[in-house]
């Protein structure tokens, strides 16, 4: 009598396995998004219809789109200078301050470029004048001066140290020590900065004030070289390394025949 009962249980085994596997795939899918998918919301903001995608962790908008209207319309746009165009960011932040939850003076220009008839403008967010790593706010302005949507990665409630406890020299020594064969590879410090580095956890964010270093081996400066560099972030409070990763090379162009080494100050850092 026992044998048939075991077979009965075994009959459900593939089903249970399938359910478990499906659950695993489902969880894995959401893991790709870190904190889960950004949620969409239709909102009436001071009489204007907006579609917003929120970052579930920072509670800040990732995307804001105006429906049947514009986020901002700039009059006499064609007459504006490049400098005047770069002032549109603070105007936009001022208008949607309660949604974006940052102040206009927290923006620092990242880039402004005209491609065809459209301007593309982007900014970093700063905290006490220091750039927040990977933060951004940007948008395009069409030839009529209309901004229809914006994309942003903002950190509204930054809590980070205001001063550094570890000296720059000490941090640089710690950073260099992370690179194996630093001298043998003839590594150079390509770029450095003090940044706010947000580290996202499950339900909170840790903000580190870091010395950020980009190191490159000399031969990596040639565009044909496959050798990349390294980014090392050293915590200004403890001297601990909070980020150490291999860099892909940002290449401005294909390899020209008459290539000459670039000036170091012309090369862009990772942030």
């Amino acid at each position: 009598m026992l044998i048939p009962r075991i077979s009965q249980t075994a009959k459900y085994f593939p089903l249970v396995l399938t359910v478990l596997l499906s659950l695993l795939i489902f969880l894995k899918t959401f893991e790709l998004w870190g904190q889960g998918r950004p949620s969409d919301q239709l909102l009436n903001f001071k009489g204007q219809k907006l579609s917003i995608q929120w970052d579930s962790l920072t509670k800040s908008p990732l995307v804001i789109r105006a429906i049947e209207s514009n986020l901002l319309e700039i009059k006499n746009f064609s007459k504006l200078s490049r400098k005047e165009i770069t002032h549109t960011g603070p105007l936009l932040v001022n208008k949607y301050k309660s949604l974006l939850q940052i102040e206009p003076d927290q923006l620092r220009l990242k880039g402004a470029e005209k491609i065809s008839d459209t301007w593309y403008v982007s900014y970093w967010q700063t905290f006490q004048g220091i750039i927040i790593y990977e933060s951004s706010l940007g948008y395009s302005i069409d030839s009529q001066g209309r901004i229809k949507s914006l994309g942003a990665l903002l950190y509204p409630h930054v809590k980070a140290p205001l001063t550094s406890k570890v000296s720059h020299e000490e941090a640089l020594r710690i950073g260099q020590a992370q690179i194996k064969d630093f001298k043998k590879l003839r590594c150079i410090l390509l770029a450095e900065s003090v940044l706010i580095y947000p580290v996202k956890k499950k339900s909170s964010i840790d903000y580190y004030r870091v010395y950020a270093f980009n190191f490159f081996p000399q031969e990596a400066l040639h565009p044909a070289s496959v050798v990349g560099g390294w980014a090392v972030f050293v915590d200004t409070q403890t001297g601990k390394v909070v980020l150490h990763e291999e860099l892909l090379k940002p290449l401005g162009c294909c390899i020209p025949e008459d290539w000459v080494p670039p000036k170091l100050e012309d090369l862009k850092p990772k942030w």
């Binding site: 899918t29 790709l32 998004w33 870190g34 998918r37 950004p38 995608q53 970052d55 990732l62 995307v63 880039g111 470029e113 491609i115 065809s116 459209t118 593309y120 982007s122 990977e134 951004s136 706010l137 940007g138 948008y139 395009s140 229809k148 949507s149 914006l150 994309g151 942003a152 990665l153 996202k200 565009p223 496959v226 050798v227 990349g228 990763e245 892909l248 090379k249 940002p250 290449l251 401005g252 162009c253 294909c254 390899i255 862009k268 990772k270 942030w271």
Partner: protein, 175 residues
């Protein structure tokens, strides 16, 4: 007994060599695929949650692109690529722009800023970039309708429209 000890020693030695040389091979950078070789398979998800594999690209002309938001050259090529994607999408032109080693939030904010309409899959740990031997960004691979890699373009090459238009003209004579 001595023979057994010798065999044990040999086995440990072999195992040790395997670990050492096996690891060394893993840390070496993979090379770019050759022109005329089949595109390498991948399995990923884009910002809208759609899954992408090589099979899904068959019959289309595909621009496989690797980028990151910190790369200034990547930024200003995107609107030009998007213009041609919008124009030729119905004729079978597809752009898959892999964001390398960044979060979905970074990629989403970036694509919204540039109003990009083509799919942006996430290569969160850089596995796909590594498979394709990518060592610099932007890097673009043009794949034909049979899944063969026809062009590899490293660095900023689409800052102007002409190079992209000339490239696509070979596949879309209507351009």
């Amino acid at each position: 007994m001595v023979k057994l000890k010798f065999l044990r020693f040999l086995f440990i030695g072999l195992l040790f060599s395997l670990i050492v040389f096996g690891c060394k091979e893993k840390t070496e950078k993979s090379a770019l695929p050759k022109l005329g070789s089949p595109a390498i398979d991948f399995n990923c998800q884009d910002l809208k949650g759609e899954h992408w594999t090589l099979d899904k690209l068959r019959g289309k002309i595909v621009l496989l692109r690797f980028w990151a938001d910190w790369c200034p050259y990547c930024r200003y090529e995107m609107p030009i690529i998007d213009k041609y994607y919008r124009k030729l999408n119905k004729e079978g032109f597809l752009v898959l722009a892999f964001n390398v080693k960044q979060s979905a939030q970074v990629a989403l904010a970036f694509t919204a800023q540039l109003d990009i309409s083509f799919p942006v899959p996430l290569d969160s740990d850089g596995t796909i970039a590594k498979k394709y031997g990518v060592y610099a960004i932007p890097t673009n691979f043009l794949i034909d309708r049979q899944g063969i890699i026809r062009e590899i373009l490293i660095g900023e090459v689409f800052r102007e429209e002409k190079p992209l238009r000339d490239l696509l003209k070979n596949y879309f004579p209507s351009l």
